[in-house]
Amino acid sequence: MKNFDEIEKFVRHGKPVVKTNRQLDKQTLDDSYAAIEEIISTSKGSKSGILKFVVQNKAIKLLTAAAVIIVVISLFLDRERQTPEITTPYPQETKLISMMSLRLSYQRGGFDALDQQFRETLDVLGPRSSGVSMKELLEGTNGS
């Protein structure tokens, strides 16, 4: 035999075909069944009374699952309800005043006046400032 293919073929062909005897079958199955029963009885015994009752009864299993789902959903909804509403930083009236101010500026000097008002507003606000009162903003730029 010169190459590995022939050796592999020889080994494959020489695979022994054996059969277990009845004695081995019986002994193995008996020992294995005993092991299975032992494991099952141990795991059953370790469960608490209520858990055992729940696991053994299919209807109770379903009811428990349904109850868990309902509780989870209600908790979720409750949480949603408790989430604070996102409120605008300024009340509706403030928005109206701003709009009126912008309109007056536009009527007074068109886009140039608007542009001027924006620039002045930005000068007062600075970068993302929210600590400036509306009165301060409108002072001198609301068309008066």
Binding site: F10, V11, R12, K15, P16, K19, D25, D31, S32, I40
Partner: protein, 185 residues
């Protein structure tokens, strides 16, 4: 494969019938593997018994990641390796061919002549494999008889794939040398 998954699923729920079907499906295959690795039928039977009893002990928690055949074959190989360590020190000669093994052979072909040939070839192969180090024999048998991939064998035995492939190559090389020297004689 799907059938095995189904059987394992049932077995995990405590089905003895599923366990019996798994046993019936793989018992002869695994005994053949153990006999090839150990060359003694009585020890091979002990190994098969131990493997199935251990497997039964995993009921409810058995997690099959590869193939069931691969898993059980690996269990047999590991158990056989332990038994083989115990045997170290005993002299195993190349002409050793246990009578029990011959008796255990099952006719795979139609008539008596083929049966004799099969027995003879298996016996010859066992003699040759016995001349290899156990590690090489194990890899060759798992790959060629149990049809396990090198990667699968490496994972199962906790070795690198290169080690497994090297053992396989060296084993085949040694077999070739022995066979060629036998032919020359």
């Amino acid at each position: 494969m799907i059938e095995d998954k189904k059987l394992v699923w049932k077995f995990n729920r405590g089905s003895k019938d599923a366990f019996r079907r798994i046993y019936e499906k793989y018992k002869n295959e695994l005994l053949g593997l153990a006999v090839t690795l150990l060359r003694e039928k009585s020890i091979a039977e002990d190994v098969v018994n131990d493997v199935f009893v251990s497997f039964a002990g995993t009921v409810g928690a058995f997690n099959l990641s590869g193939t069931l055949k691969g898993y059980l074959s690996t269990c047999v190989a590991n158990c056989a390796r332990d038994r083989n360590r115990l045997k170290v020190g005993q002299n195993v000669t190349a002409d050793f061919m246990p009578k029990a093994f011959i008796e255990a052979m099952d006719p795979v072909s139609d008539g008596p002549p083929e049966y004799a040939i099969d027995c003879e070839q298996s016996g010859r192969l066992m003699d040759l494999l016995a001349l290899l180090p156990y590690e090489q024999r194990e890899v060759i048998v798992l790959h060629l008889h149990q049809e396990m991939r090198f990667r699968e064998i490496a994972e199962a035995l906790g070795l690198s794939i290169n080690t497994v492939q090297s053992r396989y190559r060296y084993g085949l090389e040694k077999l070739r040398t022995i066979l060629n020297s036998t032919v020359e004689k």
